[in-house]
């Protein structure tokens, strides 16, 4: 209950932020695979301090949106601004260095590296001292104690839930300004999902902005301030998460009630 009051406080501060310019803006981007339109011109804003959820059915274009923001695809038209600067022609590794960090669909774990090596690679772009990086390992282990026990193991031996923890932990090692998460709850037991979602809330409270892609619409809308609904490459609905949760169409299509 307490957590929700805090989110409410945050949502008002996000409203105030709207006076200022957004941290990340997607402006009318179109993305194609061959001649198939995956995104038909979508726009989206993310303000400093927000958790934004992007929900939609399979194949709606959610992952494509994140991959385009992080530079793995180039839109055929439209623009993406981060802190006011266009990043559509910036290379993926440079975008990461700007602080837009993407934990990809399928978790993106290097299964041939150990847990600790994965975390170290997460800090690859940083110019920090070994000591700072060691402190950050400890921070990640405090969020996900199970990773600490398994730090010397090859990541390929981890369970799905542990891999998801590693994926988020590794993204956090990059000190994100904006964390892009692609379906962190996919295929996980409810308990692990709760752990993951509470970590997302925690890092958000500590200052990280989050763009969260989810099919688990209920839980995503519960922790976010605003949401966007994507259907076959178009944003069909957007608004405060609390309002989306009570929206009839959303309830029928995504919340199963």
């Amino acid at each position: 209950m307490l957590e929700y009051t805090i989110t409410l406080v945050f949502s008002t501060s996000a409203d105030m932020n709207k006076m200022t310019s957004p941290l990340l803006t997607i402006q009318n981007i179109r993305v194609q695979y061959g001649c198939i339109d995956a995104l038909k011109g979508i726009s989206l804003d993310v303000f400093q301090g927000e958790i934004i959820s992007l929900i939609g059915a399979n194949g709606a274009g959610k992952s494509t949106t994140l991959r385009t923001v992080s530079g793995l695809h180039t839109p055929i038209s439209g623009d993406i601004l981060f802190q006011g600067h266009s990043i559509v022609h910036t290379q993926a590794d440079q975008i990461t260095r700007l602080g837009l960090i993407h934990a990809p669909e399928g978790r993106g774990i290097f299964l041939n590296l150990t847990v600790l090596e994965n975390l170290e690679i997460g800090a690859y772009a940083r110019r920090s001292s070994r000591r700072e990086i060691f402190q950050d390992y400890e921070y990640i282990f405090s969020l996900f104690p199970r990773l600490k026990e398994r730090r010397k193991q090859e990541a390929g031996t981890l369970s799905g839930g542990e891999q998801q923890m590693l994926s988020i932990g590794r993204a956090l090692m990059g000190k994100p300004r904006v964390l892009l998460l692609d379906e962190p709850s996919l295929g996980l037991a409810p308990q692990v999902v709760n752990t993951i979602f509470s970590v997302i809330q925690k890092v958000n409270k500590e200052g990280t902005t989050v763009l969260l892609v989810e099919q688990n619409a209920y839980q995503a809308l519960k922790i976010s301030q605003r949401g966007y609904v994507l259907e076959t490459g178009e944003i069909v609905l957007t608004g405060k998460s609390s309002e989306l949760l009570t929206n009839k169409k959303i309830q029928e299509a995504y919340l199963g009630c």
Binding site: S70, G71, L72, Q91, A92, D93, T96, R97, I101, H102, P104, G108, F110, L111, N112, L113, E117, E120, I121, G122, Y124, A125, R170, G174
Partner: protein
Amino acid sequence: MEEFLQHVINGVSLGSIYALIALGYTMVYGILQLINFAHSDVYMVGAFVGFYAARFLNIADSPSYTSFFTILLIAMAGCALLGFSIERFAYRPLRNAPRLNVLITAIGVSLFLEYTGQVVFGATPQLFPNILEDSIIFSFGGARVTKMDATILVTAVGLMIVLRHIIQNTLLGKAMRATSFNRHWASLMGISVDRIISMTFIIGSALAGAGAVLVGMKYPKIEPLMGVMIGLKAFVAAVLGGIGNIPGAVLGGLVIGIAEEFVVGYISSTYRDALAFSILIVILLFRPAGLLGRFSVEKV
């Protein structure tokens, strides 16, 4: 028995050279899924770089460890630069092209180097400078270990230990392993994939340069097509060990080196070169992923 020991010694020495060259094939394959046909010609250029450097520095006839290490380093640096340039100018523009295009380009680069080599270096064989005095350092059970063989082995093993350290323990090595696992994910970590690919070519080519100097010392006849046969054997070594697999390349190189010495010693030197191809056929038939490789279905 002494004959047997001698063959093992010669085989390990030869095999360690195959391994050095095989590493370049396997590292590039691990990151780009490309068989870099030009690798064998980088090796050839390494021998000529050593040849001309020795002449230029006037150490062609002053054998010593100083001469040896000087030539070794210069050849490695020359090959590193060549490997870097090949990747930068021939392969990088094709980064998003179908793999077959890159493969054909690699064959083109290989032919380009071979025939440019014939124009620049001349087609007639040259004699690699005498940069290390050979002598027997010890014998046991009738088998002799020469200074040459010992130097070859120690140099090759030393380089492999350095490589292992880079790959296992440095941030560069970890980034190389991450990139070979999934290039796109690596770029999401802030890794510049182009830089990692360049480093892979630089390291692999430098190892080929070292191999060229080691071979040049032992078999001093060098000519622009000298890379073809040894390159094929090193490639077979990489496939035998499991292409893309670094310890596999070392194992494959040693197996081929030793097997070749046995074939020459106990059967006939006529079959020296046939052996590698027989091994290639057998491995492709029975264990296409190689000795240490994991099987994966390749989409060509």
